[in-house]
């Protein structure tokens, strides 16, 4: 990957982070930490990796992006708006009445939102169903499914991995946001037995790749590698910093589900180069 492309993507990710902070401050509720932490991954997917056309959101040959941990949808909305699925000014309607930008995603509320999610575990199974149907149709499109460490406390997640491995759904790439926080505190306190993580996924017959999920080059390399996987689905464990890009959000679980007031938002935007 050329340095120039990586630099452009990094700049795009900063723009998306600014949009996330602005829309969440305007909404007054939502989930900044995970959204900011995964901004690099969403940027890589929408602006480099997935085969998609915002003008043809129902193209049967499109790659599918399934957001399973739906609470970080501000990152997806911001990336989609920047990619041209809808106008950026609509981001300011997030969580307001009569908005297409629901607090948690609603399939087809905006063309390009592929699934409804929020209740954890569900998108993982939907991704497996889509991947299975694509295989049945000999369709080469891929499924990218974004999940999170907390989400993997749901039993349904493990049901879905059993299914994906059994059906050899090597057309799925999972990207797991390993940010070590959830609503009630650090994951290491709430559910320390999530670890050992890599070995669990390997035991479930997934190809596991571990990366720094805030390093654009590592993200791109891992996603590219997953495209050539044969036989097994790929699980990219993306170690991210929750709240990444804003010093006073970073690594503080209190920002999982709380938004900044106007003053803090302005401080945050300055740090993000506004």
């Amino acid at each position: 990957m050329e340095n120039k492309v990586v630099d452009l993507l990094k700049e795009k990710a900063r723009q998306i982070r600014r949009d996330i902070v602005t829309m969440l401050a305007e909404a007054g509720s939502g989930h900044p930490a995970g959204s900011l932490g995964m901004a690099d991954v969403f940027t890589a997917l929408y602006f480099n990796v997935i085969n998609h056309n915002p003008k043809k959101p129902a193209d049967p040959n499109r790659d599918r992006l399934i957001l399973s941990c739906g609470h970080i949808c501000p990152a997806q909305y911001a990336a989609m708006a920047n990619a041209g699925y809808f106008q950026k000014k609509e981001l300011m309607t997030l969580r307001k009445i009569n908005s297409r930008l629901q607090g948690h995603p609603h399939r087809n509320s905006i063309p390009g939102i592929e699934n409804s999610s929020g209740p954890l575990g569900q998108g993982l199974s939907v991704a497996a169903g889509i991947a299975k149907a694509l295989k049945m149709d000999n369709n080469k499109a891929r499924v990218y499914c974004i999940t999170s460490d907390g989400e993997n406390e749901e039993g349904q997640a493990w049901e879905s991995y059993l299914f994906a491995a059994k059906n050899k759904l090597d057309n799925i790439t999972y990207i797991l946001d390993r940010n070590h926080i959830q609503i009630d505190g650090p994951t290491d306190d709430v559910m320390p037995s999530l670890e050992p993580m890599k070995e669990k996924y390997e035991a479930f017959n997934l190809n596991v790749i571990e990366i720094d999920g805030n390093d654009m080059r590592q993200i791109l390399d891992a996603l590219e590698k997953s495209k050539t996987a044969k036989g097994n689905p790929t699980m990219i464990i993306a170690h991210t910093i929750p709240g990444k890009g804003v010093s006073f959000f970073e690594n503080d679980y209190k920002w999982h589900g709380k938004t900044p007031d106007k003053e803090l938002a302005e401080k945050a935007l300055k740090e993000l180069g506004a």
Partner: protein
Amino acid sequence: MKINPTLAKELKKADKEASRDGFGKGLLKLGKTNKNVVALTADLADSTRVEWFKKEFPDRFIECGVSEQNMAGVAAGLAFTGKIPFACSFSAFNPGRNWEQIRVSIAYSNANVKILGSHAGITTGEDGATHQALEDIATTRCIPNMIVIVPADSLEATKATIEAAKTNGPVYIRVSRAKVPMFTTEKTPFKIGKAQIFREGKDITIIACGIMTYQALLAAEILEKEGIDAEVINCHTIKPLDKAEIIKSVKKTKAAVTAEEHQVNGGLFGAISELLSSNNPVPIEPVAVMDTFGESGPADELMKKYGLLADDIVKAVKKVLGR
């Protein structure tokens, strides 16, 4: 007035068959006519009769193992990619175990998924209360976008299965394990949302679904001998309710009895009470399982013990007419 001969045969001449068999036949027919139809199960292929589809169309059969929640999500994903999935298990688990996945992944997304709940009701029998789903009509009919069908017999289950595949959006079909009289005919029409008057009468409207429609017709014969002229409606679609047909009937009879193999709370009695209380209030009595769990035993003995036979409907009719 006798039973409408174009809708049903003479009750005593009916052969017995389980409605799960009717579903299995319908699914097999669909397999032959619609290549997009796929079938899923969660380790209950034989019991749900999906086995018959599996043998004929192994490439369109998806075994999920014991994981109903995952099955619901996989079915949604298949539907989003152009398939018409039938997700099949016991109704105690599907929609019992996976209700929230059905709510969000399927119904909120308006996914074209058909949910088949077999072994519904107390007639599941010997397996006991854990496997006797008695709450599933209530838990499905309260979900927006969801159509809820309770076929009266095996033949109607076949028709319901085929019609469900033609309807875009989520549908729940409830079928049973017990062999019960198959009293409708090949020619009996079936349209989702269209209730059928199997027998016209002027004194009382009996609104039934599932295996209770047959009991309601038996009850009407008993009532006739006592000079009570009962109208019997087969309300196979609980949602959307055929409001016009039901209101028209009770305007004539001015009283109603509902009959269902389900808890008294939230099922057919609930649906009819909601409709009539806002549109045409009349006295209504339920015949249902009265807010209790079932138990192990033969289906026919359980129906007697839990008050789900024609005699129980007769009693309810007399009670409501005396109010």
